[in-house]
Amino acid sequence: MNAAQFESQLAHFPNYFANHVLLVIAALVFGIALSLPLAALAIRNPRLAGPLLGLASIVQTIPGLALLALMVPLLGRIGVVPALIALILYSMLPILRNTVTGALEVDPDVLEAARGIGMTEEQILVRVRFPLAAPVIVAGIRTAAVWTVGMATLSTPVGATSLGNYIFSGLQTQNTVAVLLGCFGAGILAVTLDGLIRMAELAATRRDARLAWISLACFVVSVGLSTAPILGDLVGERTRPRASVGAKTFTEQYILAALIAEKLDDAGFDVVIRDGLGSTVIFQALANDELDVYVDYSGTLWANHLKREETAGAEAVLSEVKRWLLAEHGILSLGALGFENAYAFAMRRDRALELGIETLDDLAAHSSTLSVGGDYEFFSRPEWIAVREAYSMQFDEERSFDSTLMYTAVSKGHVDVISAFSTDGRIAAFDLVVLDDPRESLPPYDGVLLLSKSAARNAKLVDALLPLIGQLDDSSMRNANRRVDLDHRPITEVAHELAQKRMD
């Protein structure tokens, strides 16, 4: 841990926090606005109450990350909208449940009196049921607020900036400061929000107009202050053109995004980095023009998007991928950056020697007694199926890890072999050996710079990025990864070094 690292992380705080606050407040406002009328409907038609609450409970049982991820294919887009919709759905259960329960459990004597003096059902609802259920309803809103603050940290992978950017990138780069900053921000927000809602509730039950104004003022001031850093972006006129750079969920992607951002910033763009995006999410975003540029790998595109099962030479894959991207999605592949980050099966050197394993053929012979580790994606990727079939492997156990943690897992012996990334600095640092692939079952994985349809038409943007093509070799990429993962240097610093060393 060092001061430079802390400072570089802290610099993100206003932006991440502001986005987080906006996301949470918007979700709660919509959540309340939708839940109350639905609750009113359920109270008026008790037969609806069961199914409605059941539905909300089902939404609740979907894990937060899955619900967010589901929104992307459902809506066909990434960013704030899918995140917001998932958060709204998530916030609705406690509000809905508490409102319905609270309103139905009002003292029957009071309800009879309300009906008997001539209130309509609507008047009973608005003047009697809701006010009397207010403490229960507010308790539901408070629960929803705290849940939403927590769940909003998961909106990073669908492309909405939040405090989750700290947590996801921190986990990826083993940067504890970033993770703690994310947790700290979420904690502060949850406590503050809860306090403000509690204050408003107190003002309502005591019918204290002064307290009501104070809590409203506190709310407006805190939201205003916390969102000030991005409010300008939302309403102000932009003097510089905008560009957005995407990054998947691993260190190399964070570094490359920072490197691209630096180049674009130098060229006069206002750059937004959307990091921590899943593989399919990021591709979809580029195809939809929601993202301007990111780095993908030829083999990944070849296997996952072109659905090709055979392998081919690096040049053939590159040109075929380029042709396909343009024809199918209007995406421009600006060219290969020069390095390859292939899937590579890696083992601890002593273990490999002990078992006499040098190639995937050797590995296959022992596979029935070995366990294999991979990142979250790996075991569902076509490459894994291709390798398994090519070598007839049948492992005793398959374990998924965060891609950062699998290196530690193999070096500590929790698994025997992992699907490493060839540019990862930890292969050398942990003294792992990479096994040969004599049957060439894995395609080449050249890093390629991809531009969206509209970015491809932007000559200034293209000109700013062209100098990167062919300039990053395997060893400089591996070094950069190592500097972040093992030396814990700030990403922007490492990206800057990479830019200086190669491009000057």
């Binding site: 003292d107 029957p108 004597d109 009071v110 309800l111 009879e112 009196a113 309300a114 009906r115 008997g116 003096i117 001539g118 209130m119 309509t120 008047q123 009697v128 006010p131 009397l132």
Partner: protein
């Protein structure tokens, strides 16, 4: 004022423990007719479950009759919007049912607000009624129901029922929840108020003494029917059945036993022969 004509209320009885009596129909009120003249106080007297509360609730359509018709102030209640009907009839509820989130003044003002009175008129009416039910308006207006005693709460309940200037007051065991001393006071006040305001009252109770003290006429009910309806003195002198006779005689027998106790006839008390027939 009120004319109840051959009214019945049927309930379908759900399956019993053995499921044998599934779909059976039970009458809460059966073929009941009753006229209440303007300015009159009629008491529906009977044990729990005899249908007296159901009868009361059918008048302002809190319960819908299965058969028959009810005419209130010349209008068949079936042809009147129930909400409008209820706003025109004062109702004192068995559970009092004050709105706990509203002040005393807001509770009393409930129906006038629903009727869209202007605030000055509401304010004047609330103050007048609070004073009339014996609650100093200045001191009680802004209190919450939870700050009042049971008797005070029921006073507010009566004020609320009278707020919209209805001459017709339906009262469902209005003094059931208060202690005997308070009940006595409230009953006397009701009698005074009835004269001053020229009220027509239909009151439900199972308390024979209360019925005798308040009623111009008493309708004795049992199992959804009226056994006899007459002035209290008629009921004593000419009871229609043994059940009516025994019911009406109860206060006198009780008071006799109290007399015995006071005069120390302890022997009778310990012998166990204490009117087990009630």
């Amino acid at each position: 004022m009120i004319s109840i004509r051959e009214v019945s209320k049927k309930y379908s009885v759900g399956p019993g423990p053995n499921g044998a009596d599934e779909g059976e129909i039970a009458f809460a009120v059966e073929d009941l007719s009753l006229e209440v003249a303007a300015g009159e106080t009629v008491v529906l007297l009977g044990a729990s479950g005899c249908g007296k509360t159901t009868t009361l609730k059918m008048i302002n359509r809190l319960v819908t009759p299965s058969a028959g018709e009810i005419v209130v102030e010349g209008r068949n209640t079936r042809d009147v919007d129930p909400v409008e009907l209820r706003r025109g009839i004062g109702y004192v509820f068995q559970g009092i049912g004050l709105f706990p989130h509203w002040s005393v003044a807001e509770n009393v003002a409930a129906t006038p607000r629903l009727l869209g009175w202007d605030e000055d008129r509401i304010r004047a009416r609330v103050n007048e009624l609070l004073d009339r039910v014996g609650l100093d308006a200045a001191g009680y207006r802004d209190r919450r129901p939870s700050e009042l005693s049971g008797g005070q709460q029921q006073r507010v309940g009566v004020a609320r029922a009278l707020a919209a200037e209805s001459k017709l007051l339906l009262m469902d065991e209005p003094f059931g929840a208060v202690d005997p001393v308070t009940r006595d006071g409230l009953q006397r006040e009701l009698i005074a108020m009835r004269e001053q305001l020229d009220l027509t009252i239909l009151l439900v109770t199972h308390d024979v003494t209360e019925a005798l003290l308040l009623a111009d006429r008493i309708a004795v009910m049992d199992r959804g029917r009226i056994l006899q309806i007459d002035q209290p003195s008629q009921l004593f002198s000419d009871p229609a059945s043994e059940l009516v006779e025994r019911l009406l005689d109860m206060p006198r027998r009780q008071s006799a036993r109290v007399q015995d106790l006071i005069h120390g006839t302890v022997a009778e008390k310990t012998s166990g022969n204490v009117g087990g027939d009630e």
